[in-house]
Symmetry: C2
Subunit: 219 residues, 2 copies
C-alpha cells in the first residue's frame, strides 16, 4: 500500500521520528479500534463526538439515526478530522520529565458524502456488523427497508492522514540511569469479559461458535 | 456536586434518556481515563488530538512541550471541545438494527489559559504524575527549573459539559424476541499486563509496592 504525501496538514511536527505515513500502518490502527473521535467545526466551534466506524478501502464509514446532528453535518461535505487512539502502556521513567505513554494514534482528514443507494447502504451495514463481530451479519435478523431508511450512512474518502506511535522503554537523561528509581513500562490492553446473556433470551438458544471464539480471542 | 445547566451546546439530542449533566457522573468518566481527545477549530478546520489529561476541580489540565502546536493554540484562549470515552461492551441484539455498544462518554467545553506561575506549574505536574500512577511523584526524580520551563501547561475551566451512557442488555423489537438468535452483551475493559522492566535498570532496584499494587489493580 502507498503512503500519504507529507503536507502541512498531516505532518507530525512534535517528535517527527514517531510519525508514519504509510497506509498499512495507519489502517491497522484504524481497523484495530471499534470507535473513533470525529472532529467537526460547526460555526467555528470544535465538536468532538465518539462513534463506531468501519473502513472500506480508502474510505471511513460512519452511521447513525437520520436525526443525528453529527451525521447531518458530515453529510453537508464539511471538513472532518477523524482520530483513532490506542493506549498501550504507561512509560515510567526515572525523571518525572521523561514519563510518557506508549500509544498508537491515527489522524485522518476528509469530507463525507451521504450513501443513498439502497444496495450500497446494505453493503455498508454489513461492513459495520462484521466489524463489530465477524459472523454476525449472516446470523442476526437483517435490516428491513424501513430500518435501512431510518439509518443514515456517510462515507468519507481519506484525503490525507498520519499515524504517531511510541513503543519501548523509557528514555532518561544519561546521568539519571544511576539513580535508585525503578523504571519500565506498565502495558495496557483491552480485553473481553464473560458474555452476558440477554435475560430475555429465548430458551434453548446457545452461544454460536463465532461469538464464543471471538469472546475468547482477547482474554 | 452540582449540575451543568442544559443549553443548546451541551444537551444530548439523540436518545436524551442517555444524557447526564451532573458533575459527579461527568467527572468520574473524565477521571477514569488517562487520555482525552482535544478538538480545536484552526482556521475553521477541525483538528482532534489525543493527549493525557488531568482534572483539578472544575478545570482540565493539559501539558506538553513548549513547541506543541496544540498547546500553543489552546493557550490563545480558543474554544475547545474535550471528549473522553470508555467502550464497555458490544451489544448484540437479535436484529442488526438494534446492535449497539455500551459506553460512557463525556463532552466538555471551555477555553484554556497558560499556567505561568512556577509553583502552580509544579503543582500541576504533580497532579499529572499522580494521575498516571499514584505514588510516583514522591519516588521519581522531580522536575528541574529548566525541565519545568520546557513544559507548557494549560488549564481549561469547564464552561459546560454533558455525559452520555449506555448500559445493559440489547433492546429488540417485541416480535424479534421469539427469534432463535443469540443476544446479549460482550463486555470490554482495559487491563494492565505484566510489568516490563527497563533493560537499563540499575541492578538491585526492586519494583516499589505502589507500582506493584497499581499493576495488580486492573488485571
Amino acid at each position: 500500500m502507498s503512503d500519504f504525501p507529507k503536507t502541512d496538514l498531516n505532518k507530525v511536527k512534535r517528535l517527527p521520528k514517531r510519525g508514519h505515513y504509510d497506509k498499512e500502518t495507519i489502517y491497522s490502527i484504524v481497523d484495530d479500534s471499534l470507535i473513533c473521535h470525529v472532529g467537526m467545526a460547526i460555526d467555528g466551534r470544535p465538536i468532538v463526538i465518539p462513534t463506531i466506524h468501519a473502513r472500506q478501502g480508502d474510505n471511513i464509514l460512519l452511521h447513525g439515526a437520520t436525526t443525528s446532528r453529527m451525521l447531518n453535518h458530515v453529510a453537508t461535505g464539511a471538513e472532518l478530522c477523524i482520530t483513532v487512539t490506542h493506549l498501550d502502556g504507561l512509560v515510567l521513567a526515572r525523571s518525572v520529565f521523561h514519563h510518557s505513554m506508549n500509544y498508537r494514534s491515527a489522524v485522518l482528514f476528509g469530507k463525507g458524502r451521504l450513501i443513498e443507494d439502497p444496495d450500497e447502504k446494505m453493503e455498508a451495514l454489513e461492513v459495520f456488523t462484521e466489524k463489530l463481530i465477524p459472523g454476525r451479519w449472516a446470523d442476526a435478523r437483517q435490516p428491513t427497508p424501513n430500518e435501512s431508511k431510518a439509518t443514515k450512512i456517510v462515507t468519507i474518502p481519506i484525503d490525507t492522514a498520519s499515524a504517531k506511535i511510541r513503543v519501548g522503554p523509557p528514555g532518561d537523561d544519561d546521568e539519571d540511569y544511576a539513580l535508585d528509581i525503578w523504571a519500565g513500562v506498565l502495558p495496557m490492553r483491552t480485553v473481553f469479559g464473560e458474555l452476558e446473556v440477554d435475560p430475555l433470551l429465548k430458551d434453548g438458544v446457545d452461544v454460536p461458535d463465532y461469538i464464543h471464539n471471538y469472546a475468547n480471542s482477547k482474554q
